[in-house]
């Protein structure tokens, strides 16, 4: 009985350790999507794509799209607050183009819902999507 319990614990422990990196600084926050809405309708959303993908949450996501018709960014927090912005700025589209699965994305919008800022951060500290 004891041996079987030990074996089960060992199997669980080994699996949990699997994939863990052993060197380099890591971002230790949860990386969740954070949405801030101001009274005038403007706001900010940010999140870490890899951390959100790997997190045991079910609703949150953060994303941006670029196309012939401009950019569209959206985010939903785990509290189910959904926000979005759009812009036809080619300048901002360049920022969207640098997005990757392990980046941190922050976008801001004005009261009219127009994207005013796109920030994409890449860091060795950020998780990549796993699984």
């Amino acid at each position: 009985m004891k041996i079987k319990n030990s074996m089960a614990a060992l199997a669980l422990g080994a699996a949990l350790i699997m994939g863990t990196a052993f060197a380099g600084s890591k971002f230790t926050g949860n990386g969740s999507v954070v949405v801030t809405r101001n009274a005038d309708g403007s706001g900010t959303a940010s999140g870490y794509l890899g951390h959100v993908y790997n997190a045991p949450t079910t609703l949150e996501f953060i994303a941006c799209q670029k196309s012939n018709f401009g950019i569209y960014c959206q985010a939903k927090s785990e509290a189910n607050v959904h926000v979005a912005c759009s812009s036809n700025s080619a300048f901002l589209a360049n920022g969207v183009g640098s997005l990757s699965a392990d980046a941190r994305l922050t976008f801001k919008w004005d009261a009219a819902g127009k994207c005013t800022n796109i920030q994409v951060a890449h860091s060795s500290e950020f998780q990549d999507k796993q699984g």
Binding site: M7, V33, P56, E60, A63, Q65, S67, F69, G97, Q130
Partner: protein, 144 residues
């Protein structure tokens, strides 16, 4: 009785370990059904899908891709001549295929930064690519 309880505990432990290793107990996933091809009677249409979801698809016929080719040469006057060629193609699980081409630089530029988990959509009229959409999200599945 005791044997079955222990067996159950072991089984649960192994299952939990496996789930943790695969990341199945993880964040929101965008459930796009791999590749979608829409063709209209007038020859227009669009196709879209996620690169990761398509590669991971259970249907071997599904595929989705865009290729950008840029060529540079020097003409007799000594000036650089630049040509751009974009080809996008998609095949859904029913083997319905859509293909389009473009020689526009702005179409090619839209594909910059498309990553392995991106959602790609292209619209076409006849054989000409009219629009490209590249969407990157925390919820898109990556290639396995």
């Amino acid at each position: 009785m005791k044997l079955s309880i222990h067996a159950t505990r072991m089984g649960l432990a192994v299952v939990a370990a496996a789930l943790c290793a695969t990341g199945a107990l993880a964040g929101a996933r965008y459930g796009l059904p791999s590749v979608t091809v829409v063709k209209n009677a007038d020859g227009s249409g669009r196709a879209y899908g996620t690169l990761g979801g398509t590669r991971n698809s259970a249907f071997p016929s599904e595929k989705l891709s865009c290729t950008v080719s840029r060529t540079s040469s020097v003409n007799l006057a000594g000036s650089e001549v630049k040509t751009t060629a974009v080809v996008c193609t998609a095949t859904d699980k029913n083997r319905v295929t859509a293909t389009c081409v473009s020689n526009k630089e702005e179409i090619a530029d839209l594909l910059n930064g498309l990553s392995n988990d991106g959602l790609l959509e292209f619209s076409f009229t006849g054989a000409t690519c009219m629009s490209i959409y590249v969407y990157e999200s925390s919820s898109l599945e990556r290639k396995r």
